[in-house]
Amino acid sequence: MPGRRMTAEPGTVAANVMHFARVLRRAGLPVGPAEAIVAQQALALVDLGVRDEARAALRAAMIHRHEHGDVFDQAFALFWRDPAGGEQATAPPDAPTGKGRARATPASRRVAEGMGAPRDTVPHPHDEPPTTDAALTVSDRERLQRMDFEAMGTEEIAAAKQDIRRLTLPLTLRRTRRLRADPAGPVTDLRRTIRASLRQGGEILAIARNRRVSRPPPLVVLCDISGSMARYAQILLHFLHAVTNDRDRVHVFLFGTRLTNITRQLRLRDPEVAFQLVGQVVPDWSGGTRIGETLARFNRDWARRVLGQGALLLLITDGLDRPRDDGGSTQLAEAMDRLHRSCRRLIWLNPLLRWSGFEPRSQGIVAMLPHVDEFRPIHNLDSLRALVTLLSRPAPPRDGAGWSDRRAS
């Protein structure tokens, strides 16, 4: 439809563009006045009678990311047919399709229940006096460090969460190719040297030097939130939230039957708000698990975008995948192999390892084990602390052998 409102005089177009920008904003897209101004300039340069041209112009001017394209197209289709209807239809934020919205509501309720709201006899964290952890004695604290997350009561969980939030993650630094000034550095900086020499009338008195900048590598976390892992995931989410806010280049994904990127949600400072938003976007909390499929999906859609620049990957899962047929564990092994080759270091954290006699028997675990660099328990505060120590030491060089091969030799 070559829009009755779009061919109208300039004033109407301007008003409509502003209106449309508001609709997009309400639909959750970051569209500000700058985008609206550019959009108006763009519309003046195309033939408004041709719908595709007008849409392409608005699209180029108003969105900056591929993933926003679908929401934009829907909003465009609705708005330029009926500006008032479009506004209503796109009003709920972050719900691009009607189908997705219908599914999101029960899911978000389920996650909200799963994440800190009353469950059996657990009181709401807000109802508790804030002195809970101060009341713990020294020996209580010691016990807490070794206590399994799964065995913890509400008080202990609250205390553990406090502890976890204080953990920092000093990753081994990697040298980048960037330089910074350092009087004792190995590289001479002629530009600065000459500039300084001019103050002495051209006499070079001191040679300026540089050194390579080191910075921590990107950290990518894949965390299993299926039924068997839900309890651990809830607590680890606090750890991940603290880490995400502590440094740049952290990406966090949750997976059960589906894979969800929750990095943007975790970036919010306030954990309660962040977890509430996580709850809204994660559809499969405490559900089943399809590790092979979700890892394959991660490889295809995300690995190339987030695993560059020597990334460190933490995979948190119990590996209890139940392949529905023989193809399942092959797919899992292939996906793990690809994952292992895409990152600099892959560390598998598995709460099942808390049992000293743990033998990898499950099909999923057997398929995954050859493709990890480290295999570690994660079930209490001590193991979490051990992980932090491990990550702050330089990684051993990879020799092509997986964890299970190395242990056998």
Binding site: V46, D52, A56, R59, R65, T176, R177, L198, G202, R304
Partner: protein
């Protein structure tokens, strides 16, 4: 330098005249970038023709192409400008030998334009050179600090050299940035650009591209090649073949004197289309035969 096209249709014609078959959305975005003098930010899978747009624009607008290939750790000295330190040191020694001791004069002398070595970014906005098309290729390969260098250039088409002053383009360059999304490019860059996601072409457009880029390939074969590749893109593969791969493959089949697709020929040449062993193993054999039959029926 040729004048900028006045309408979207003219832009599409200009691109087509130099062998680039663009869809309407891309032609519109290019037209806007040229008219509004805003940088064009193109994202998309490898091999979908992002870099080619800059080359075609340079040829079509009769401008020189200035290309900056990005890499990790790229700094100002490699991307924008560098002082010629050896010559500066020499000039300082000569001034001393001649007995000049005025510091300000010396500073003016050795920070003159003649001592400034232009790298791609500075060269693209040099007012003494003819207008340019600036291609900043694979921006995702550069690290974040480099993106910050670009902000002044993208907003005002100028570069400030502290010792020298500001260099500003007489005619703003046409700027094309590309990214394969191996890293997310910062919002500050995105906001200054017009954004377009370059998608795989549909069958009709891919046939048109093939006719332009590989004119020696027979119609029947090229129709089957396109039908096959289009079906292949619907498969669950790690790396889908781009248009560049289609062109290579059609050329190779033609070179091998194939007049139409056969399962055997596909198996033998699959390495031109798929670049990962897992993908090749998945398609080779029965799957390839099925896709060939489908493609032959459709073409």
């Amino acid at each position: 330098m040729t004048a900028l096209p006045a309408t979207v249709a003219e832009t599409a014609t200009l691109l087509a005249a130099h062998g680039y078959i663009a869809d309407r959305a891309l032609a519109t975005t290019v037209h806007l970038a040229l008219s509004m003098r805003r940088p064009l930010f193109l994202e998309g899978e490898p091999g979908t023709g992002k870099t080619e747009i800059a080359k075609v624009l340079a040829a079509g607008l009769n401008r020189r192409l200035v290309r900056l290939q990005c890499y990790d750790g790229m700094d100002l000295a490699a991307a924008a400008y560098e002082w010629d330190h050896a010559r500066q040191l020499m000039a300082i020694r000569l001034a001393e030998a001649a007995g000049h001791s005025d510091r300000d004069e010396l500073a003016r002398d050795i920070y003159a334009r003649g001592f400034l070595l232009a790298r791609p970014l500075l060269s693209a906005i040099d007012p003494d050179l003819p207008p340019a098309v600036l291609l900043i290729d694979e921006l995702d390969r550069a690290d974040e600090p480099f993106e910050a260098f670009l902000l002044e250039l993208l907003a005002d088409f100028q570069i400030t050299v502290p010792e020298f002053g500001t260099v500003k383009a007489r005619t703003p360059p046409v700027v094309v940035l590309t990214s394969n999304r191996t890293r997310e490019v910062h919002d500050a860059i995105r906001r200054r650009c017009l954004y377009h996601w370059v998608d795989y072409p549909d069958a009709a457009r891919e046939r048109a591209i093939l006719a332009t880029k590989a004119p020696g390939v027979a119609d029947r074969l090229s129709a089957q090649v396109v039908a096959f590749v289009q079906r292949l893109r619907a498969e669950d593969l790690f790396k889908l073949p781009g248009v560049a791969e289609t062109i290579d493959w059609a050329g190779a089949l033609s070179f091998l004197n194939q007049t139409e697709l056969t399962p055997q020929a596909v198996d033998e040449t699959l390495g031109l289309l798929l670049k990962y062993q897992d993908d090749i193993a998945k398609i080779r054999g029965a799957e390839a035969a099925r896709l060939v039959a489908d493609a032959q029926a459709a073409a």
